[in-house]
Amino acid sequence: MSQELSFTHSQFAHCESGVTSTLFSAYGFKISEPMAFGITSALTFVYLPFVKVNNLPLIAYRSLPKSIINTISKVLHVTMEKRSYKDEHQANEELKSLTKEGKLVGLQTSVYYLPYFPKDMRFHFNAHNLLVYGMEGEEYLISDPVFEEAVKCSQDGLTKARFAKGVFAPKGFLYYPKTMPQSVDMHSALKKAIVKNAKSMLTPFPFAGVKGMRRLAKKIESLQTETNTRYVKNYLTHIVRMQEEIGTGGGGFRFLYAAFLEEAKTYGLNAEVLTEASELIVKSGNTLREFALYCVEGSRKIEKLDTQKIAAKLVEASEYEEKAFRVLKNL
């Protein structure tokens, strides 16, 4: 490869948008994490009671794994090299030869098998993204967006993590950009992305967007009469983990999106509308954080559990988001 990679490890709020930001910046197209997150319309809310994870419903605060990587190539009109593997040996050989060429590549992995993760954080979450930037002996040099510093990982550990089974099984998924964007019309790309995100948050489908938040709030209210307190405790903390931990913290996806809307102002979009929406989404983020606190308080002192109070907080957040996205829909 002719061009030099100007790679620096950075820590980010969310793995997929963080990896995308570092990867594209290293290949010559500077893009911030909020921009990578927003331009791919990655903010969402989904509550699927009929899909179970450890017997608890699937709840997500951002789009499906891989969607940022898949969408960004469409939005910026770039070609990504994407490979999945059946054979672990072949996957390793190709990764080795790519790192020898000096290429920076993204990988999808399972958190559970990454030996450098703290023990308490290792769960079977198969959609963790990281970057490999070289090798030292038999160890891979890794830029993991969750960590403050770059880390190292043995080939065995990394292979296990790349070939974990289960939901969203990574199948050795590897990716890097092959071409770089040429004169992108950011103004129209951003407008499209924001309107698309607004529509998805205002969808009439009852399990997604603001409707999904209210549906989950109803479910929380119904937990008041549930006699299995262990289930209630697990349920409430599960919501918090899905909101705070899988990738980012403190209603973090909302703050990330608010930061994106602020950045979008520099591309000549309606600044007034963006400011208003950004403030509302910050409010929602703060409210979601209070909501998480109430969930934890409720599970700590289950005898004092007030599910109406918890549910009301989630409804409040959904109201801010509805307002914000109604404004953004007509951007």
């Binding site: 709020a13 179970k52 308490d120 290792r122 099984a169 403030e279």
Partner: protein
């Protein structure tokens, strides 16, 4: 109506000293990344970790009663649920569910047990004799 984003600085033992980052506004009102620590996150993680410990302890009692098989114990030990384990060993869920019973476990062939032992990174004999 400027809304402030507070940055918590609470201990979180589950992170082994790592600090994660979040976006918040600086004094000029621009977004920046900040390190934070959240006891709310800490509690939620601890509940999930403890739940697997409880499941393991309950399973040990059932193993002694001859009800549950060691496979069920190691499923929890590896923080798996039934769909994850079934996918890992490449079998249908109903089949794996049967293997969680001691009565079925005792009739399983070594070849079949080995598929579980591999997933759990265990020695076959250790899995067979685990009580």
């Amino acid at each position: 109506m400027k809304e402030i984003i507070e940055i918590p600085h609470e201990p979180n033992a589950t992170l082994d000293g790592i600090q994660k980052v979040m976006y918040a506004k600086n004094e000029q009102g621009e977004f920046e990344r900040y390190n934070y620590g959240s006891s709310v996150e800490e509690f939620a993680t601890q509940v999930a970790v403890e739940e697997y410990e409880t499941l393991k302890q309950e399973c040990l009692v059932r193993i002694k009663q001859g009800l549950s098989s060691p496979i069920e114990y190691f499923m929890y030990e590896n923080r798996m649920d039934l769909p994850t384990l079934a996918s890992a060993v490449g079998m249908f869920q109903w089949r794996v569910k049967r293997h969680l019973k001691m009565s079925v476990f005792q009739t399983m062939s070594d070849a079949l047990l080995l598929r579980y032992a591999d997933v759990f990174s265990l020695d076959l004999f250790y899995l067979k004799d685990f009580r």
